[in-house]
């Protein structure tokens, strides 16, 4: 792993850690955006240009904005001193650490460690991705279009105000 990738990995992990620990929800969302950007950098470093830019477009341009707006829409009256964590929070952390430890141990022990370093640097040309999407993966693509349409309509219906509901201040 070279220096650039190391920096991106640090940005990703630091952003994610900040997003999961900070108190202010807006700060959390923005830290999450930083993590998504760092991940896009990692994708770029791995040669997946299209995925990297798609990641920025979708996550920073749409998901982060969505999260920030949802935070603004659901902000309760400022409760001072309210804990940002669920009450018995220690088991959660314990399970998290346990799972992470198990994953890291498995990666360390796996055959991957002994596999020879790949010498080729494959590229994912946009043209090849497009051709795959229109041939091998055309059915998933269509299903995805359907899913996105359903999600769009579903999200609008869910967030829509009930017609009978009075406008509360």
């Amino acid at each position: 792993m070279n220096t650039a990738l190391l920096i991106f990995a640090t940005i990703t992990l630091a952003g994610a850690a900040a997003a999961m620990t900070l108190r202010n929800l807006i700060h959390c969302a923005l830290a999450g955006a930083v993590a998504f950007l760092g991940l896009a950098g990692l994708f770029l470093g791995l040669g997946a240009e299209f995925v990297a830019f798609g990641q920025v477009l979708v996550y920073v341009g749409a998901v982060a904005i969505l999260i920030v707006i949802a935070v603004l829409l659901t902000r309760p009256a400022r409760v001072a001193g309210e804990s940002p964590r669920v009450e018995p929070w220690l088991p959660g952390v314990g399970i998290g650490v346990l799972v992470t430890g198990a994953l890291v141990a498995m990666v360390k022990a796996s055959l991957v460690a002994r596999s020879p370093e790949a010498v080729s640097s494959p590229a994912a040309p946009v043209k090849a991705i497009g051709e795959r999407l229109m041939t091998t993966y055309v059915l998933p693509l269509e299903v995805l279009g359907l899913l996105l349409t359903a999600a769009l309509i579903g999200a609008v219906l869910l967030a829509l105000r009930d017609p009978g509901e009075a406008r509360r201040p």
Partner: protein, 103 residues
Amino acid sequence: MSTLQSFLIVSALLFGIGLTGVLTRRNAILVLLGIEFMLNAANLNFIAFWRFGPNPEALTGVMFALFAIAVAAAEAAVGLALVIAIYRHARTANLDAVEELKG
């Protein structure tokens, strides 16, 4: 340690951070953000395995990551709409306050 392995470890750490966040944060929106991190960790694995795998010309990892990103966008939209609907009903987005359905 091979490069692939270091990517896998970064991904495992990202997954762990997301999981811990999901298990410990009260606010539903941050739980959703934690799930996004876990999905992203999986994406990083897909891309890393594609890059260092035996058959990169098939572009399988890239395709999987692309589809995962698109599905994650749909998931975020519906999830946040749900959070807003819950907020309208319960006047809070804290998950431990929404326990009416508890048996």
